[in-house]
Symmetry: D2
Subunit: 114 residues, 4 copies
């Protein structure tokens, strides 16, 4: 439950040394943010090129399906970067902070979507 | 749509009246092309907003994961539009054209990715 | 249950020469049935061995997750066999029979689950 | 990397009070083991009934696909039980034990398969 987290104090983290003063919740490791952002930028460019290719009446369905799948693979890669950062910075340290149950509930919920 | 297809002679399709003269292969139905393009445009906008949100050091990992998943759902929707058009226009008519085995092999291959 | 299909007459198929006299709907190609059955039997054996391994208090979570995933891969394989038979015997011939729209609707519905 | 784990000492766990004396690695919480075993037993019964249904020449492909998918849903449920137990008992406590990096690497690897 992400809303329950809003009440949580800044906490003895983040471990990667990034600042998270302005936020009431756990903050994403900076390295994850930057790497995920780069991957999303690439996926967005790929997506735009597929959209443009659909203006060509000679485009073939199966080629479009393959391209869409490639973008989904890129998004899986971006999600993996984010998930790994979350596990390292927030989940593996949950017992230390005392919010293990909240973290696990939240993670199980979001993994349903992955 | 598919009704028109039953009467259609082996090759000279596409059914929606779009031109496919320049192509040696089957062409995507125009309606599928337009609807898939609209969905991809929306997904691209969503993706860009996630990428921008990653510039905020206070962003939370799990929120990013949820947003990425929403885009993947939108891409699934776009792929469904393309797949349905392909099944109606090309696969369901394959025996009539005589390329059923090729169409099935190709479809099985692309479905592995979906 | 494909309601619309129940009314359909036995139809000029199945192509693999199997008998389907007793059924009001399209029948599964015999080869698909046999190959899918073999794969399901193997998956069942694997599943039973995982279940037994859970009686060992020293079993490790991640090993169980890997084993469950292997069974899901085997079920994917069985589903692929069935899907391929369905595409070849029923979907690729749909325009010939005149039930293309029903077949595509039904397939899109079941592919959502795959 | 699960092999590295074999060298790990029994460690200050398991938290659910289950015994894990005989094992060099972390042990699955007993509650997870029992609940996962029950789910796998149900899935195995369902799988066996699908296999038997394939002896009927009048079985329809799409019905088989739906049944296989139902079993996969049951296996997803069993995997969720195991994963939750693993997160609670082993991942959330990793920083305390000092094996966070190994646990995260291993989890990311197994989640690829889920």
């Amino acid at each position: 439950m992400p809303r329950a987290m809003t009440a949580r104090p800044p906490a003895p983290h983040p471990p990667e040394g990034e600042a998270c003063h302005a936020s009431p919740h756990l903050c994403m490791p900076e390295d994850s943010r930057q790497r995920a952002a780069r991957r999303l930028a690439i996926a967005r460019g790929h997506l735009e090129s597929i959209r443009r290719s659909l203006e060509d009446p000679n485009i073939y369905c199966v080629d479009v399906l393959r391209q869409i799948k490639a973008v989904q693979g890129a998004l899986d890669g971006a999600a993996s970067v984010v998930l790994r950062g979350h596990l390292e910075a927030h989940v593996a340290t949950a017992a230390t902070r005392g919010d293990a149950q909240d973290m696990v509930d939240e993670l199980m919920d979001v993994l349903k979507y992955i």
